[in-house]
């Protein structure tokens, strides 16, 4: 599968202090791992060093099915990065995951950029791989569920 957006956007990765490492490594292996508190059993996202609910430091990462519901969306027309010049419009989707305490993930909605967008639509994840080795990374994209 070719990438949804052109090459040349900044490559994502964990924070310098290592926060989010598990998430980025798992995407490489086509798995979605999200942070979950071992004390209160609730998911939280983005990753943090403490659970915002119970203040436990004992946080792990659990596998989550990459399926969700369109929480909001935007169709982008104006390029603000040189790599995106002439690549418009495209769709950014915000997806809520009911099976993970409704945490949300940002991605692109694959397919026709002019497709109708309806909040509440069920979507499923598509792993999108970029590059090789140390410079490689993977993104989680979305398409309307069939």
């Amino acid at each position: 599968m070719s990438a949804y957006l052109p090459d040349g956007l900044p490559a994502p990765g964990p924070a310098p202090d290592g926060l989010g490492d598990e998430f980025w490594h798992a995407l490489r292996e086509e798995r979605l791992l999200l942070q979950r508190c071992r004390a209160c059993d609730r998911f939280q996202w983005g990753p943090e060093w403490i659970c915002h609910r119970c203040h436990a430091f004992d946080l792990g990462y659990d596998a989550v099915e990459p399926q969700g519901v369109l929480y909001s969306h935007e169709r982008v027309w104006h390029p603000v990065h040189p790599a995106l010049a002439g690549r418009g419009p495209f769709i950014v989707a915000l997806v809520a995951l009911p099976q993970a305490d409704d945490v949300r993930l940002v991605g692109n909605l694959l397919g026709d950029p002019m497709q109708p967008l309806e909040i509440g639509t069920r979507v499923e994840g598509v792993f999108e791989h970029h590059g090789e080795g140390e410079d490689g990374f993977s993104l989680l994209q979305w398409r309307v569920s069939t």
């Binding site: 989010g20 980025w24 983005g46 969306h73 104006h78 990065h81 949300r104």
Partner: protein, 392 residues
């Protein structure tokens, strides 16, 4: 003893540089700031050497110590910076300065912002980086990187939840451009905007068209605050601070768009605190300056400040209601960030002062309560209100 800023502080002076389109200032940013500060001092009838504090926000580059050195200030007592980006800190910078004056830490504090985007880079451009880490790694690789893109999904969700039509956003834009035509300092004076022009303008990111988005400018603005008592002996004793608050709601701006209260301008906790501190209610407000990074943020700011219910937005946000002097709630009467100047909201604070003084280019009659909201949809955000002598 009640702890409040109400009527403890007054705006002694306001000042601004010439405002330019981005990249068109012939002068360096620091010099623009000096001009704004000197203008505020002249307006206040005070020597620049009587300044003893500086308060700013958004990591302003124009360091308080350098300003104190440049102006030969004898006794610098206060140098405070509000955390957070964009214009979210504009009213909080007034709050921080006022708190210092009210508690005797300083006597004469300048709140300032210098912003020469032509010299230091534009906010509306994406980052030129090879790698991105931390919270932005969750968004930028998906092409979500400019402020307009960061906020459009919040606005889309609000419009979906409340059945809002794009005409409501258009009305906000038309009001700003209408008011700017009377303001000789407005960058967009002489550039009127019609509903047809708006409808024909290009999409930036839906639901924002070009004219839903603020300008990018070069310029500087400053206001000078003193105690209400001291202001009695100065040329402008008439504009008192009623209240100023900053902050953020629960988990506001959580990474990757995970804020629980998502379709929000982030005033759900601030507005009630402002009304409590100021001792007034939405119905008492005569005129509003509401920070337009994007029109959708104004819409949610007005709702969260109690000027209309979410389901009333389509009826409330029509040009007739928003245009001075006769509208139900005159809005952004200088032209605002869209059409006067984008000085991270400090231009809006100055206009809120002018409305109390009666010196706006689009004056609303008999203004007693003049409200300003800063930096919608960012965290922390902030808001303030000024009151006339009649509020004492």
């Amino acid at each position: 003893m009640t702890r409040t800023l109400r009527h403890t502080v007054a705006v002694a002076g306001v000042g601004q540089s010439t405002y330019y389109k981005h990249g068109q200032s012939p002068e360096p940013e620091f010099k623009l700031v000096l001009r704004a500060v000197l203008a505020a001092c002249e307006d206040a009838g005070l020597s620049p050497r009587s300044i003893d504090g500086f308060s700013s926000y958004s990591n302003d580059r124009n360091d308080a110590t350098r300003l104190a050195q440049a102006l030969g200030i004898d006794d610098l007592r206060l140098a405070v910076m509000q955390w957070g980006g964009g214009g979210g800190g504009v009213a909080a910078a007034v709050a921080n300065a006022s708190a210092a004056i009210a508690t005797g830490q300083a006597e004469c504090v300048v709140v300032m912002r210098g912003l020469a985007q032509g010299q230091f880079g534009r906010f509306g451009q994406g980052p030129a980086l090879d790698r991105i880490a931390g919270p932005y790694a969750l968004t930028i690789p998906y092409g979500l990187m400019s402020p307009a893109q960061m906020f459009a999904m919040r606005v889309n969700r609000f419009m979906h939840d409340n059945g809002v039509h794009t005409e409501a956003l258009r009305a906000i834009s038309l009001a700003s451009y209408h008011h700017a035509q009377q303001n000789p300092d407005a960058v967009m004076q002489g550039r009127p905007l019609s509903a047809e022009d708006y409808d024909a303008s290009r999409w930036i990111v839906e639901p924002f068209r070009l004219f839903d988005c603020c300008q990018e400018n070069d310029g500087a603005a400053a206001i000078l605050l003193v105690s209400a008592e001291r202001a009695k002996d100065l040329p402008h004793p008439e504009c008192y601070l009623l209240g100023a608050v900053g902050g953020a709601a629960y988990r506001a701006d959580a990474a990757g768009h995970n804020d629980p209260i998502y379709a929000s301008s982030n005033f759900t906790t601030l507005a009630p605190r402002l009304y409590e501190m100021g001792g007034f209610a939405p119905a008492d407000v005569d005129v509003v300056q509401s920070y337009e990074n994007f029109t959708g943020g104004v819409m949610m700011s007005l709702v969260e400040h109690g000027f209309c219910e979410p389901e009333e937005v389509n009826d409330f946000l029509v040009p007739d209601n928003l245009i001075a002097p006769k509208g139900r709630l005159p809005l952004n009467t200088s032209g605002g960030n869209l059409a006067e100047v984008y000085m991270h909201g400090l231009g809006l604070v100055i206009e809120a002062v002018r409305q109390v003084r009666g010196t706006s280019w689009n004056p609303v009659e008999d203004v007693n309560v003049s409200l300003m909201t800063g930096g919608p949809m960012v965290a922390p955000a902030s808001c303030l209100a000024f009151g006339s002598e009649a509020t004492r």
